[in-house]
């Protein structure tokens, strides 16, 4: 079976987790250490709640990330 393309090493998020209320999908995936396609799968299955901002861009609230990490990262 063909192997899915994966990014080699995700780039770190641009700001510390504690300073932001919400994160882009890429940033959230980087913080969780998973591929962003996995993030979209989790969102589609409503495992992660998101909100849409201007232009329809998806953001993951910090509270959702903390829930997945099961620890306060501040």
């Amino acid at each position: 079976m063909e192997t899915m393309p994966e990014s080699e090493k995700p780039a770190p998020a641009t700001a510390p987790l504690g300073e932001r209320l919400a994160y882009s999908i890429q940033e959230a995936a980087d913080l969780l250490g998973i591929h962003y396609y996995t993030m979209y799968r989790l969102i589609q299955r409503q495992k992660i709640k998101t909100c849409r901002v201007l232009r329809g861009k998806l953001l993951v609230p910090r509270t959702e990330l903390v829930k997945l990490l099961q620890t306060d990262l501040r």
Binding site: E2, L32, G33, I34, Q44, R52, R55, K57, T71
Partner: protein
């Protein structure tokens, strides 16, 4: 949108910049589309392989988060595999996803059923929804990017070109999607 409208030089240049800025997303998106097309084209074969694996080998045990135990048959994609279990002499199949989160690995049943081919069809349908979500989010990010780079300029034609290209990649077989574009050359 008027698709016959010619893009301006500024729009052509913005398209090139956007393509470079989002190249990883675009490449990965195309790769996942190809993988999905391959699964859709080979449903029968994958189903047969999974069935054979279930009959021939006990497979390693996979315990999902709902407490059920499955036996691994084959890997479908990265972190996604086909598993089976026997209930009252009947074979039940499942598509299981493993997500390696920092808090621990989660294992979820994405789809399940007694007919592995139908189960894979449902899986492929769901993955299309995921790819649509990805496409919509990336084009929204492109709009934001272009708004910041070119405030006051109409860059709709640029975003729509990428959106069109991504929609085609998702809709079509890879061989059909080659060398087709419209609007801005991307």
């Amino acid at each position: 949108m008027n698709h016959n409208k010619r893009p301006t030089e500024l729009q052509e240049s913005a398209a090139t910049e956007t393509k470079n800025a989002f190249s990883e997303h675009l490449n990965q998106f195309n790769g996942f589309c190809d993988t999905l097309h391959n699964i859709e084209r080979n449903l029968e074969t994958i189903g047969n392989d999974a069935f054979k694996a279930a009959l021939l080998s006990p497979g390693r045990v996979v315990k999902t988060d709902d407490g059920t135990e499955w036996q691994h048959d084959l890997d479908l994609m990265k972190d996604i595999s086909i598993c089976h279990r026997r209930i009252a002499g009947e074979m039940e199949f499942a598509v299981v996803e493993s997500v390696p989160l920092p808090s621990g690995e989660t294992k979820d049943v994405l789809n399940s059923g007694h007919n592995v081919r139908e189960m894979l069809q449902t899986f492929a349908h769901d993955q299309r929804q995921v790819l649509r979500l990805w496409k919509d989010d990336v084009t929204a990010q492109m709009r934001e990017y272009l708004d910041q780079k070119y405030p006051g300029h109409d860059m709709n034609i640029v975003v729509e070109s990428f959106e069109y290209k991504m929609s085609r990649a998702l809709a079509q077989r890879p061989a059909q999607a080659q060398n087709q574009s419209r609007g801005v050359r991307i």
